[in-house]
Symmetry: C2
Subunit: 215 residues, 2 copies
């Protein structure tokens, strides 16, 4: 698949790493083109790194999946700004709308960042929530304590969810489909707790992952 | 500690099993006294099973921790009915306020079963959310795939949270303190997804557990 990642930060690095491992072509575009080029150059050192490109945002128009690897507010603005260019496309929201103290969500009760981004998007944009519970460094490794990461996926379009699940699985991770986009509420909520646990005394230092353990 | 469990169903069995393993005294009381006696008799076959008693609800008045091992609506009614008898005591709410289709929560956005139970309780009752993400059979075993269960704990009284964490740890489980009682919202929310995943095609059959994996 053609995966276009908007953003060139740590989460872009993590998701690009897994997408390359899965054999996909990755386009990176960012507000600061130098940052996008620098990340692409770094990723080229990886196995399958030849399939990464940096450039302008024209790759959005040929992407199978567009990933908004930016914070919530920027993601919502981008979804609105791209408008009809994203119609019919799978748009992945990875954001966590949390306050600076990591004690509360910035979105109102009864909604989620993913739903707000969907509301800001043009009709026919298939918004999928994914990768919001996986920290950047764990994505680069793909594993924590030798366990493949769970990636929880929510979205109203089943084919779009399946497409993201394919990206996840091809990159060596475990996809967990939780259904409709409204369930992004519960994914974002639990991740608030998970984030808060990173910075406490004896916290996990952004190195833990949420996993459903089965017998 | 003296642990009084109200209810004699599967969750009562699971929590009693861990409490006995932790060396605590367990009192079981239930609407149907025969059911309480039967569960106590069954538990007596366990190691440390000598420390279990069934009887009337007078054990509520001498308990260090009272566990409401009943569904949400019954738990709220019991909290209100016991009123001042629970004042100053640690009251554990384990409930999951989910609809029959496991697709939505029964409590309004911006609250939780635990907060509603606290509102129904007499002043000074220290309501703690715990054990809502651990299925009954996993509690009996204490582990899934040889991994000790995480038990997420939320409550506004720090000493009460620590008391529940002590119960959890003594029973061989891993306590994860997530802070204020309002964070029960996120625990109940994520458990809605976890429950829905049990009954799907290829579902986990009530045998999985939510774990934060660390390096």
């Amino acid at each position: 698949m053609n995966i276009t990642i908007i953003g060139a930060g740590n989460m872009a690095r993590g998701i690009a790493t897994r997408a390359l491992a899965g054999g996909h072509t990755v386009h990176i575009t960012a507000k600061d083109p130098a940052k996008a080029s620098q990340l692409a150059e770094e990723l080229r050192a990886q196995p399958a790194g030849a399939a990464v490109r940096a450039g302008d945002d024209s790759a959005v128009d040929t992407a199978d999946i567009v990933v908004l690897a930016v914070p919530y507010t920027a993601a919502k603005e981008l979804a609105a700004a791209y408008g009809a260019r994203l119609s019919g496309r799978t748009l992945v929201d990875i954001s966590n709308p949390v306050d600076a103290s990591l004690d509360a969500l910035l979105v109102a009760p009864g909604t989620s960042a993913a739903e707000e981004i969907a509301r800001a998007s043009a009709p026919g944009t298939h918004v999928v929530k994914a990768f919001n519970t996986t920290f950047a460094t764990t994505l680069v490794a793909g594993r924590v304590d030798d366990t493949p990461l769970d990636v929880f996926i929510a979205g109203d379009d089943e084919a779009a969810r399946e497409q993201v699940a394919e990206l996840v699985a091809s990159g060596g991770l475990h996809a967990v489909d939780v259904g409709a986009l409204k369930h992004a509420r519960e994914l974002e909520g639990f991740q608030l707790l998970h984030m808060a646990l990173q910075i406490r005394d004896g916290g996990y230092g952004w190195a833990s992952t949420i996993k459903l353990i089965t017998p």
